[in-house]
């Protein structure tokens, strides 16, 4: 199973990774993706995640070809 994984903003800086491609049969959930992509770092509180541009929870299932993203709370756009 091949997955594109992306990290954004402060999470990208903490993890030290912007993009990584995983290729492993053992991955089932978004949380598994985090563990493998970060070498087992703890997941910060309030981390948001998305599969293929949709917000999901950490226990959501992933499938081959998915793009999985992790990011901190949004602080976007306006006042």
């Amino acid at each position: 199973m091949s997955l594109e994984v992306r990290f954004f903003a402060s999470l990208r800086e903490q993890v030290g990774v912007s993009e990584i491609t995983l290729d492993a049969a053992s991955i089932k959930t978004v949380e598994d993706v985090w563990q493998l992509a970060t070498n087992g770092q703890a997941i910060p509180d309030n981390t948001l995640c998305a599969i293929n541009m949709d917000y999901v929870r950490l226990d959501a299932s992933v499938k081959d070809g998915d793009e999985v993203a992790f990011f901190p709370p949004v602080s976007g756009g306006s006042v």
Binding site: S10, M53, Y55, P72, S75, G77
Partner: protein
């Protein structure tokens, strides 16, 4: 209906005029617009610069989705979102949301919906430059409606 991301400075009034030129004049009686621009202060500190990170595909898709939601929830003729990313200076426009309708109530509600959804759910992250260095805004002391 239009949602756009811009890497360069934009002028909200020019954008409003250009978008309105495509609408059927005489059919709308109300336009409500919101412009969010960069302040030179936040959470008690002076802010000299800001960088706005986004997740291009997801952010654009999200902005398009909330435009569609606004159109389905209120009887509006059209709506518009333009949002900056990249490096900004104080007083730069960050975001424009606007809605056109026959009557004012719908235009106010739709315009406000767009900016509230955008603010609370759109994938944007601000990094501010202050006298004491750079900081991510989501790590900074929060203010109720900053």
């Amino acid at each position: 209906m239009s949602a756009e991301l811009r890497g360069e400075a934009f002028e909200p009034t020019t954008e409003l005029q250009a978008f309105e030129a495509r609408l059927d004049a005489g059919k709308y009686g109300a336009c409500v617009s919101f412009v969010g621009s960069m302040r030179d202060f936040n959470a008690g500190d002076d802010v000299s610069a800001m960088s706005l990170e986004h997740y291009p595909k997801m952010t654009l898709q999200f902005l398009e989705t909330i435009c569609e939601e606004a159109k389905s929830r209120w009887d509006i003729l059209d709506c518009l979102i333009i949002h900056r990313y990249g490096d900004l200076q104080p007083s730069d426009p960050i975001v424009l949301t606007a809605a056109w309708s026959a009557h004012r109530h719908e235009a106010f509600e739709a315009c406000r919906y767009l900016i509230e959804e955008l603010k609370t759910r759109a994938p944007f992250w601000k990094k501010e430059t202050t006298e004491s260095g750079e900081r991510w805004v989501h790590d900074a002391p929060s203010t109720p409606d900053s």
